[in-house]
């Protein structure tokens, strides 16, 4: 074999092998790219939370209550419902209405007030702030205020309303959050509807003192609702 043949033979082997390799790798990548482009990409999209306790029935009821109470994004939410209106929209007995909130044991806080008072004590303020800052993926913050059966019904209804408004006012002052008006729903229930039983004394309360059925109803129940309705 002469020198020219040696040279060209070696040169051909040295250059052709890399060319074949590079071409085949590129071709394989191109083929896979084509296949992957046509395959559907399944990526979760950021969304509000929808917890497992949000059964269709619960959602339907919350939807009714939320709609009637003005919890509409972009609307003038936080305006509250009256006792009778909430009862009619929910179309539920008081016990059934309370049962709606039972899955929220860990999320909810009960803000307690002194008899005939609407002022928040420091513990109540702290509890409200803690509850609000734990929004996570929830869309609506419910404030369901009550009054005990002590005293006149009209007085208790006004008391209940002022307690709910007190919670909202505190949140507005503390967080100065534009979203408050779209996310906070107030329901003041007075004394004639959905009184809490003393089993709610075991829930997260703003006070650690002894709790009776009367005391637990001098309260505002606050909770983020993790249902995408």
């Amino acid at each position: 074999m002469n020198e020219q043949t040696q040279r060209w033979g070696l040169l051909a082997v040295a250059i052709v092998i890399p060319i074949i390799l590079v071409s085949s790798w590129a071709s394989a990548a191109g083929r896979r790219l084509k296949e992957s482009s046509s395959a559907a990409k399944d990526v979760a999209i950021a969304s509000v939370s929808d917890d497992s306790y949000c059964t269709p029935q619960l959602k339907a009821i919350i939807r009714r209550v939320a709609g009637a109470c003005g919890l509409i994004e972009g609307g003038g939410g936080g305006r509250g419902c009256q006792p009778m209106e909430a009862q009619k929209v929910a179309a539920l007995s008081g016990d059934d209405f309370n049962a709606l909130f039972k899955p929220l044991t860990r999320r909810a806080h009960i803000i307690q007030f002194d008899s005939s008072k609407t002022e928040l004590d420091p513990e109540a303020a702290t509890t409200i702030e803690k509850a609000w800052s734990d929004q996570r993926g929830a869309s609506f913050f419910f404030v369901v205020s009550r009054a005990s059966t002590d005293g006149a019904a009209d007085f208790n209804e006004a008391l209940s309303r002022d307690r709910a408004k007190g919670v909202l006012t505190h949140l507005q002052g503390k967080f100065k959050d534009e979203d408050l008006k779209n996310q906070v729903g107030l329901l003041w229930l007075g004394e004639q509807y959905a009184q809490l039983g003393d089993e709610f004394c075991t829930w997260n309360r703003s006070r650690t003192t002894a709790c009776t059925a009367m005391e637990i109803n001098r309260s505002a129940f606050v909770a983020w609702i993790d249902c995408a309705i």
């Binding site: 002469n2 020198e3 020219q4 040696q6 040279r7 070696l10 040169l11 082997v13 040295a14 250059i15 092998i17 890399p18 060319i19 390799l21 590079v22 071409s23 790798w25 590129a26 071709s27 394989a28 990548a29 191109g30 896979r32 992957s36 482009s37 990526v43 979760a44 999209i45 950021a46 969304s47 509000v48 939807r63 939320a66 709609g67 009637a68 003005g70 919890l71 994004e73 972009g74 609307g75 003038g76 936080g78 305006r79 009256q82 009778m84 209106e85 009619k88 929209v89 609000w132 800052s133 929004q135 996570r136 993926g137 309303r161 408004k165 967080f175 959050d177 534009e178 107030l186 309705i229």
Partner: protein, 471 residues
Amino acid sequence: MQPPDESQPLDDDLDQRPYGATATRGPLIVTVVGSVLGGIFAALSTSDFMQHLDRQVHAIHCSFIPGAGKELGESGCKAVMMSPYSSFFRESVWGGVPVSLWALATFAFLAYRAGLLLWRGKPSRAETTFLLAATALPMLMTVIYGFLSVAKVGETCKICVGIYLSSVLVFVGALIAHQKNTAPAEVSPSQGKFALWFGEGVGFVAVLTVTYLIATPTADLKTSLTGCGTLVSGDDPNAVMLPLPSGQGEPAIEVLDPLCPACKAFDERLAASSLRNRLELKAVLFPLDPTCNWMVTEALHPGACAVSEAMLCAGGLSNGPKDEKAAHDILKWAFKNQEKLRELAAKDEGALRSKLENTFPKVKGCLGGNQVKAKLTKSLRWAVANGIPVLTPQLFVGNSRMCDEDSDLGLEFTLSKMLSKQGRTARAQLKPPPKPAAAPVPSIAAVPKPAAAKPLAEPEPKNPDEEEVEP
């Protein structure tokens, strides 16, 4: 001018003198073996690089044994491959032209040259001189890339080390072959011969580069210009965005998790790219940690919520100007210590929070507080409001989302396309998607209004599209 003919010896009596044949044989074998070994390592590296041209994630080789140690996770080889030093012309070609391709071409050429001299068995001084000079190129690149690997990337790549060792082997072989070559020095070695051999070397590199450019899959121009989707709104009504070091160019948003390795790698790639200076970059924190993020069920990056809170605290919770440096210092620290911080948080998140407070005293009194928790929730809800995918990192140029598959090797190519005049025009024509569907709230018209109580605000006007609900 007559082209040089390599069959002609440099000296008239070359064929009559059997000089150097035995003495140079051993070193030339070393050079051939080194070239083949270097070629195999370079081919593996090129293969690993090129398999990523399908825009997917693949396992890559990372072992001193050629072909062994293919792994999917993080490795020095992956870090080096994803670094901006692994390829050239990244703004013109998707992924760029891998430097390992040129290493492959060089080793193939050296194998050819050394093999030819070995086969012929009687190298001239000029031939061994050229071989020595040619092997100096991979030696020089070994020094440069060894430095870049240690000083800039901070990782070493076993495949690259294989290439470096092969480079040393071929250089040493060529050096000894040249020293042991007893052939007489040519009185006037032909310049044409050197030019021919040099031309052959350039030819190897050019042919492989052209083959690569012709054969590699081309990028989809539309997605390169406009990305994959747009934001509903790039506005920041709740002041959750933190400014990041960048230039004063196109507004851009990086959705990131401070304890996400991919975010760290992405940030490094972006920092190494000159294109970062053409962006006015802000971060939206999106920790993939269920402690605060309801969209993930597994603690992918434990402690990410705590670090995110610390960044928000350091940046300032008010809606006014943010303390860019303070927030970025925490991000840099978190990126640097990601693994340790994740491990610490997995065992005890409280310990991580204490560590944050000790390292950055400014966050004391804010970290873990209700205000910062609410702020972090706002940051996550920014993602919800824009309906973006639950993953990190993501880059939005203007309101256009860079495709995920373009965020590593294709970063410079895609970013330069998106920032080009053509890209700006194409992006301006995109319409934002509709706002993520709000809950269908029923009409309240069916509910009788009690006369006694006074609402705090006027009821909403009825929307004819809303669902009617039985009273």
